[in-house]
């Protein structure tokens, strides 16, 4: 049988999927063991025992001064910024995207501008954001919004453009004016597309969040990583990175589940 026609079973697929993770762990354990055998004070690749101790310290022990558990307060601060920024970007993306996609005059007026805007590297204007919006929450949220909102706007506008012309004409022959057309025909079909766009921009959103927190912040996951970097605390950085990855993965998964649950018609269409 040809290689391209062989398919793994369910169990085989699961174990194959786990394999790279296991290999990576083993490689780390071996390398870490070798380095620690040579120099017990090596900080670059801490043993699982010292990582465990560090996790215990940041995730389960209250800070004696503030009474807070560091990992949770960092997570809360970061997720709050991320959540507000994603919500704002989604709202902007949906409204502007639909308007640009369906109203030719608005498309003519705004599409080139949004395209240009989306080409600005957001990190390049981070200093401007700090100057304009100050060093607190707003500038960090703005960085993420500026980073991903133009992408979502363009994506939604494209998706609106992909709606079959037949559908839009049909709706008009059923008596729909511009506004009801957007509300009843275009908007509902854009919800699952919006969730897709959000899922695709999650990576960028995290990138901008960590960057903003690294530069000017007093809490947050990105802040913590860059803070302990000064002490070469790999035992904290590594669990934080894993934690961030896990959070991002869960958000992606939750969005996918939400889309499937809320928009069964889109799933049925996609499978055909």
């Amino acid at each position: 049988m040809r290689l391209v026609n062989r398919k793994p079973g369910r169990m085989a697929a699961l174990s194959l999927g786990a394999l790279p993770f296991v290999l990576l762990l083993i490689a780390y354990l071996v390398a870490s063991g070798l380095r620690l055998a040579e120099n017990p004070d090596d900080k670059l690749m801490p043993s699982f025992a010292s990582i465990g101790a560090a996790i215990h310290q940041v995730a389960f022990t209250e800070n004696p001064r503030s009474g807070e558990i560091v990992l949770w307060s960092d997570t809360w601060a970061s997720l709050k910024r991320l959540g507000i920024a994603l919500g704002a970007s989604a709202l902007i993306g949906l409204c502007l995207g639909i308007l640009i996609g369906i109203v030719p005059y608005l498309r003519a007026a705004l599409a080139p501008f949004i395209t240009a805007l989306s080409m600005i590297p957001p990190l390049a204007i981070l200093p401007i954001l700090f100057i304009v919006f100050g060093l607190d929450e707003l500038s960090k949220v703005m960085l993420i919004v500026i980073g991903i909102a133009p992408f979502i706007v363009r994506d939604i506008a494209l998706r609106v453009g992909e709606l079959p012309a037949e559908q839009l004409i049909k709706a008009q022959t059923l008596g729909a004016g511009s506004w009801p057309l957007m509300l009843r025909v275009v908007l509902p079909q854009m919800w699952p597309r919006l969730i897709d766009a959000l899922r695709l921009s999650l990576g960028a959103a995290w990138l901008f969040l960590i960057a903003a927190e690294a530069i000017a912040s007093t809490d947050g996951l990105g802040y913590r990583i860059f803070l302990v970097r000064r002490y070469l605390s790999m035992d904290i950085i590594l669990p934080y990175v894993v934690w961030i990855t896990l959070l991002a993965f869960c958000m992606d998964y939750a969005l996918r589940l939400l889309s499937r649950r809320l928009f069964p018609w889109a799933e049925a269409g996609a499978r055909r």
Binding site: P164, Q167, L174, W179, L183
Partner: protein, 269 residues
Amino acid sequence: MNIISVRKLWKTYGEQVVLENLNLEVKEHEFVTIVGASGCGKTTFLRMLLGQEAPSRGEFLLDGRPLPNEPGPDRGIVFQRYSVFPHLTVLENVMLGLELDGRSPSARLLGRAFGSRRREARERARAMLVEVGLDAARDKYPSMLSGGMQQRLSIAQSVICNPRILLLDEPFGALDPGISSDMHRLILRLWERHRMTIFMITHDLREGFELGTRLLVFDKTRLDAQAPDAFGATITYDIPLNVKGNRLLQELDAATARTERFREEVELA
């Protein structure tokens, strides 16, 4: 009065002539089938009826007034595909027209109906679904329906709005031959009951003869091999299908004479 009057209609795109010197009078409740090779302006003609294209020259009148330049509820359409809404169930698809229709604030602001208007819309939509044989599938999404059922849905969706004119753009072209005859019965029944005027484009000549009360053939009367776009298509045959015997011969004679006369006019011009 005739519902549609087309007088000396030309449609050109730059140098390209698509339709030339088209003349047509259609009475209320006629079932006009349109056949012709591809590229002979059938679709352009339909787009003009919809209001998506404006005539370059000549008149295209609906009830003696120029056609509006955008689609509206007086002219329903069923395309070959893509004309049902995937995010609405079958019942909601049929209700949509009733919900969008009307001057009520909720229709204009939200495109929805509430309370008794909504109940009434639901009742009418249910009755319509029974009429087209889709009541059992009322809670399904269109993607779960077969092609034939989707076309039934699209027809029901348009007919419930009581359009004066129903445009059918090869509605059964993508369906299995076995299903078409069911669809033919359905469309004839709806045409009788709802007293619409129907224009139907078809590739199937037999379908054209079977369904229509009148068959139009679009074709080019002149062809320049060096400049294929220089001459447009027009109605070359206008065949009455609901009359027989001597009447038919007379009508045919008259139709041919009309065509001949237009041709002379064109050549003189």
